[in-house]
Symmetry: C3
Subunit: 395 residues, 3 copies
Amino acid sequence: MAQAVRFQPQGELAHSVPVDLGKVRQPHYGRYLEEFAPGQVFVHPRGFTFFPAQMEGFARTYMQCNPLYLNEEYARASGFAGLVASPQMVFNVVLSLGVQNDSEKAMANLGYYDAQYLRPVHAHDTIRALTKVVDRKERGAGKPGIVTIRTLGINQRDEVVLQYQRKIMVAGQGDRPPTTPLPRAEGGQMPSFPWVEDAQVFLPDFPARLPVGLSGPASCFEDFSVGEIIVHANGRTITDEHLALTYAVGNTHPLHFDRVFSSGLSGKMSGDPIVYGGLVFAWLEGLASRDVSDNSVWELGFTEGYHTQPSIGGDTVAALSRVLAKEDASGPLGAQFGVVTFQLVGVKNITAASALARHGADLFIKENDKKDLGKEKIDEKIFEIERRLLIRKRS
Amino acid sequence: MAQAVRFQPQGELAHSVPVDLGKVRQPHYGRYLEEFAPGQVFVHPRGFTFFPAQMEGFARTYMQCNPLYLNEEYARASGFAGLVASPQMVFNVVLSLGVQNDSEKAMANLGYYDAQYLRPVHAHDTIRALTKVVDRKERGAGKPGIVTIRTLGINQRDEVVLQYQRKIMVAGQGDRPPTTPLPRAEGGQMPSFPWVEDAQVFLPDFPARLPVGLSGPASCFEDFSVGEIIVHANGRTITDEHLALTYAVGNTHPLHFDRVFSSGLSGKMSGDPIVYGGLVFAWLEGLASRDVSDNSVWELGFTEGYHTQPSIGGDTVAALSRVLAKEDASGPLGAQFGVVTFQLVGVKNITAASALARHGADLFIKENDKKDLGKEKIDEKIFEIERRLLIRKRS
Amino acid sequence: MAQAVRFQPQGELAHSVPVDLGKVRQPHYGRYLEEFAPGQVFVHPRGFTFFPAQMEGFARTYMQCNPLYLNEEYARASGFAGLVASPQMVFNVVLSLGVQNDSEKAMANLGYYDAQYLRPVHAHDTIRALTKVVDRKERGAGKPGIVTIRTLGINQRDEVVLQYQRKIMVAGQGDRPPTTPLPRAEGGQMPSFPWVEDAQVFLPDFPARLPVGLSGPASCFEDFSVGEIIVHANGRTITDEHLALTYAVGNTHPLHFDRVFSSGLSGKMSGDPIVYGGLVFAWLEGLASRDVSDNSVWELGFTEGYHTQPSIGGDTVAALSRVLAKEDASGPLGAQFGVVTFQLVGVKNITAASALARHGADLFIKENDKKDLGKEKIDEKIFEIERRLLIRKRS
């Protein structure tokens, strides 16, 4: 820290620089359909340093109950190097880092697939994100197309902490000016994109005796049985807080925080800013957490995730979980842990119990399959996903 | 950090697991009247690590002015090991940690008694909470009963940082299913509950010369006289922020953040989510702070605390303090410090000055005593408590 | 940490202390016109420790995109000692620390002038503030006067990090009681006030190769041309969050968070709480940041800053920048950096593009000059300022 520099005093200049309305530039971000091409790799700007208070703040905002994200002593006693960032926070941040490039012009997020958490994120880790275009499907002139992308979250040691795939609906460029410049391929090469096939998960050496008393008494591996439906008692009313929370995770899409923009849209999305889907997912996961995940030691990942209706400020969201599978963890982990797969369903402006009473089994059928089955979509249903956790056995 | 584990790829499962509406489970938390028994000790889940930004954030949200909670240099220069967590934050967190077990089914918090802050909480301390049932009073079939509980906040060195008692109004179970499983007494023994009778307070060795210039000029021990009424000028409008703030301190009661739940209630509590009382107390204390507590070096505690009316988002709260007693601290501390007891009264949707003009001395009579005195309760009054502080003398 | 002290148990006292309505005190803060005198120096209470999560939180709340404020690794790789506090945060905090004394009774903030950022603020730095009265202009009986003050932000090593001047409109005292006690001049001397004339800026030794890939591709020094107008695409709807954010930076003026106070005013400011201008400035700067400042390594400062219309919760703000000047940095810095001066203009409840289409060149004329030019003020325009940045050249 060592140079002292003297700059000219700052004088007032505006009146002496004529306004030239011929020199207007309006930078745009995101991409139109034509601006995606399979094989492209984007390095996303900014990155995100995880400070412990932000980690704890995220877990508390979204009502997560696993003490790994809230209690540093507990995390250490469980074998981790310190407080663990909620995987849901890692997902929200990694996705959001890519929005400015990938989806700030997108019309909809169509689905999340094959998300895998490969390593813990701890305090003071810095995560950056990369995206690769996997597929672009055009659906005819004037129609938006579908782009499939893969995204990686990478820490400061160049280790992948998360990888997932998503599909987005993107409008054609038409006569609009181009947006974000295409990535420059150094020497004709795109940046490397270290997606891991058949990935390993890097876990701590768990102690023989995990801490007791600070996680729920009824959410161990033995407490779940395949097929059971767990109705999570409490809901959460989403307030206008969601505008700030969108950018708190780095998401730059104006649909979520710019009412002039959102109310200027036509159709279903017109009106108040729409809650960024990652936040909805986070609240639903949090509402479920004390019943299903506060004895988990790892989120393995999720797939087939769909936001089936948008939410706005004022909506109250609630959640149900259904146990899809359970099995011992393989190898030595099996003595202490099992793997449980849950279907997580979100509803809004109705209690989870009432939603189950009203819609029964239909709640758990994917909304995209309803048409083929001759069933109506459920307006009160906002989200569906399958998630897989590594959960403690009762000690 | 050392094991790499390969899990099976996650495939879609929901369609292959038939939905069985006969296997529904709805976990409930909190307890009904019959589920409390004197002598029970509950170890509360999760715990809470105090990170400095959360400590500062709490103090700023609730408008606390004592630099001990805002300025690390000042705290060190005052003899503390570092930034001090606001005792009000410690209280809010310790109470909230117990809500899931103690009061998530409670109908009302009736009062706070005999709260004693025994040790500072500093950055990176982790606090857990325990509760013991002291008394259960039934009031006849169909009527809610009154449960008296004591709660401890304990740090990672097993030292008690806070102890207090409260009374809650709890409905009978009726034909509802049981809630949180009863604690298992190991070997027939409840967990130990180290409530401290005739407690000592652990304070730093204060320097001979405390820092000057960063705390208010008119809130030293000498500035207060017994009987005086201090009208705090500013109010604070509570916004919908309170929904998130409830869970930020760990409180899981849906009355405070679930509009489907709160609007489904009947009677006085029906409608918008009610502001969690701990937050109201915190704002009132903060509004008073620059006039009464920014030269305090310790909050000794409080008693006879009552929320006399609920608040909701949109309400503006304001505060008055009345000096009930002052005396030199005993022993060597007396040269630098005195003990001042204040009555703190909160009002809403009126300025503190107008409330005093309108209600006069009645503002300072406990609402529960009004009936016997033939007086009307004051609708605009929301809170009353007596608090005791250790305050610097002018140096 | 070493003394154990036993205090008397706290008993209930309120009923035994008669209420004396003759002993009422209402402390007031801020100053009326007569309470300012040129030459006075005020040492502001409290101070503010910058924790990294608050630094990151500020940058995210206000949508700032420069990775120096968001990514610790990037900041270090750029030559800084660690994460950098956004200069905008430093400005907001330093101004706010002075509000309780300088402007809690002020009717309006008239302008910001000659702000100079002299040193970085890093995590765990503690900033305090001092203000000196430079001028007091009376405008006749019954009229508010104009006070010119200079304020310094000083770190724990007694180094000036920020200095600026502002003008405020202040009402006369009339028959109101006095407010904050005047500062006591020790030995007849006011505290020293180390404003730096012809100041040097203390910058790190920048590495020969700055980090690439994490800041925007089109905001390097070469990308700007004098005279061009940059329309920033996104707006931000300000929610009731602004009430809490005001005190989060330490501002104590009730106009911003007390609806009973704000709705009791007469005239233009009556109604909902007004957004504290510092926050508006911060959002506008943030909305501009990915287009103009995410490749800056230093904010040199700003001048001629005016809030030309107030904003309230629910307003959506948007921004435009105009390039007023650019030149190479002098000396060895010039190889890597240039200095760019921007005019930043804010509008509300209209997109920046529509505001430009509707008002053209008039948007960039200072509102205070409009009358002399025979032009109408623009209701939709909320802010104007000139700011100067040190920006990377393309490497």
